[in-house]
Symmetry: C2
Subunit: 400 residues, 2 copies
């Protein structure tokens, strides 16, 4: 048997992630490796942490990337903060809330579930009721930006409720970080995790996390050891932050992946957070105009819609998988399928980070319209003019 180097096809990634990676990030990733305790590397780590604080809008000392994908970041938050017997209020309005419940239970905690329909944001009223009913709950956990539906929940309101009832807040920002407004300190988020591969336009494989002082205090005063050695923040901190000027070896840091994250954060810092949020919104509005001009509809109501994750209802009688296959085969364009109750019923179009640009919006609209027109599901020639008008309107509003 022989094997040869892998030459990936060149795609445009407009699914739920990973999203397109900036060529600068790919170039950074391929620079020569140095040791994970090299003084030059340690200086770079400090910059990564500083830029992560900017991205999260926090001053938290305990801000660092976990050396594994976002799912491991989620587990790091739960494994460090939940002890056996702890009661955790978990909001489920999509796949990732469900995964939080799994995490609570595997940590020996009890999950009190607050459920909302998929596509809806988390209901603060239901959360308040659950907090009142369970005064012994220790954590409120929810997803800011549900990747499975594109619904955005009100982090600030939910964190306020958590604190009023003596709970820590634990928030999933995998899809929001860099793409939607997020203010970890001002909004009172105690533990937060994200991923490198969505609105940061970095390669997948790292999970930025941050913990407030209150969360650190909870970890410090645990009665039991953290069940994961790899994700034990006491040990991870020993390497990333150190003590007395000394850093203790914990695991070998993924050096080149961290070069990539560093570069992605430099790019975000250069653009500016607010400008990045506005760019995501601008391209979302153009995409939306084109989608609606085709007669298609969004799963999520406008006020709760994420700009970076657009869940579009599949028209009756259309085979959604055939559409995605045609987009991939003919246009090398990837969009995402639905999950859970929305498998086969929605497409998920990502406009994340680097991928949130006019070229991608026009490609996606025109390719999707062509494929659907061939199936007789829409008539051609509607989407692009609508997007064009939206862009022109946005430019005029900006000039005015």
């Amino acid at each position: 048997m022989t094997f040869s180097s892998f030459a990936p096809p060149v795609r445009t990634l407009m699914g739920p992630g990973p999203s397109d990676v900036d060529p600068r990030v790919l170039a950074a990733m391929s620079r020569p490796i140095i040791g994970h305790l090299d003084p030059a590397f340690i200086a770079m780590m400090e910059e990564v942490r500083e830029m992560m604080r900017y991205a999260f809008q926090t001053q938290n000392a305990l801000t660092l990337p976990i050396s594994a994908p976002g799912s491991a970041g989620m587990e790091a938050c739960f494994a460090n903060l939940v002890e056996p017997g702890d009661k955790v209020i978990v909001c489920i309005n999509g796949v990732f809330g469900g995964r939080m419940k799994e995490n609570v239970e595997r940590c020996g905690g009890t999950a009190i579930v607050v459920e909302d329909d998929w596509g809806q944001p988390v209901s603060p009223a239901k959360v308040e009721a659950a907090l009142a009913e369970h005064p012994d709950a220790r954590i409120l956990a929810f997803v800011h930006a549900e990747t499975s539906t594109g619904a955005c929940s009100d982090v600030q309101a939910l964190c306020e409720l958590a604190h009023r009832h003596g709970c820590l807040s634990l928030v999933d920002t995998v899809t929001s970080l860099g793409g939607s407004p997020l203010h970890v300190d001002d909004w009172g988020v105690d533990a937060v995790y994200s991923g490198s591969q969505k609105c940061l336009s970095c390669t997948p494989g790292l999970s930025p996390v941050s913990f407030s002082e209150a969360a650190i205090e909870r970890i410090r005063t645990r009665r039991t050891r953290v069940q994961s050695w790899f994700l034990d923040m006491n040990l991870v901190m020993g390497y990333w932050i150190g003590a007395g000027g000394k850093r203790a070896y914990h695991h070998t840091a993924p050096v080149n992946a961290l070069y990539a994250l560093h570069e992605a954060l430099v790019i975000l810092h250069e653009e500016g957070l607010e400008a990045s949020w506005a760019r995501h919104q601008r391209h979302h509005q153009a995409l939306r105009a084109g989608i609606e001009a085709m007669g298609l509809r969004f799963l999520v109501d406008a006020p709760h819609r994420l700009p970076q994750l657009n869940a579009i209802l599949v028209p009756d009688g259309v085979d959604e998988a055939a559409v995605r296959k045609a987009l991939l085969d003919h246009y090398s364009l990837e969009i995402g399928a639905g999950l859970g109750p929305y498998a086969g019923r929605i497409w998920r179009i990502g406009l994340m980070g680097q991928a949130a640009n006019e070229r991608n919006v026009l490609l996606c609209l025109s390719a999707l319209e062509s494929v659907l027109a061939d199936m007789g599901a829409v008539s051609s020639g509607q989407a692009v003019p609508a997007a064009h008008a939206a862009y022109r309107g946005a430019a005029q509003a900006k000039a005015a």
Copy 2:
């Protein structure tokens, strides 16, 4: 505050890992990203698994890379195979055996420790006594190649003992895979993990693992859920292997890191495993000749010495950290420090993967000799001729 792109210094990495990465691997890593469910990516994943089977010398169906560093691979093995109350015999002859004990305990198991001095291989006689004393033990866990000391243990003998006493064998091959003979199937290894960043010359961040049928059966018949969601092999398998032709989303695979691992495995396959093992041995013998010509000594006795991890005793009166700093500052050469009881007492010189070459051996010997000669600890002019003679001898032996 402003941040700019990170330009790492160009180092030669001869520490305990990460080791130098082949430029082909870096080039592969920086290819454009595609989706983790893209048909082209899935075909590449299958090649990665096939080449991993070759590297491990196994036919195990459950062979795949964990999306996190070797430490997470270790945790994946323990978290899946150990249940609360299980008794595990853990051999400790260095740092990584100690870490195994931590893992057993965090999984709720009881670790029965078999201890050997650091620098010694694991003693089969002691292991046999422990197995006889604890007939209810379910797993025997040990490290093949102790990265903290450079000692190599007898995997085949230890696995035979484990099976004779009804235990599964769980083996750390982080430093051995690709560098020293390892025959997972022939030697009866039931669960094995490694790292990408040592003798595979890939970037750090992935952990190849493999499980025998007996290990899979143990996982299938667990009474409790695996405590880690991220490392639960039932779920990881759902993505990497799938069922009924379908793959279930578990976490976003680290796409570019997997391109890198694929290329590293292609390179290993091109060279051939036996040729790689022989190359590590050849350069180790030349390094050894130079080290001994300087009057320095190895921590580990020759029969148990790993070619890829050379633990050298620091001569009396020499400040070992000053030597490493001089090597890094003047020669951009990284070697490793000692750990635990050998902190300050040994250097660890890696000859791993790509870094096991004549150029590195000569650089390391001549730079180390220069630095030590400046300190008055050795006399100059001994090391290189000795290494040269060793290489000439090896070439003549091969020609004969």
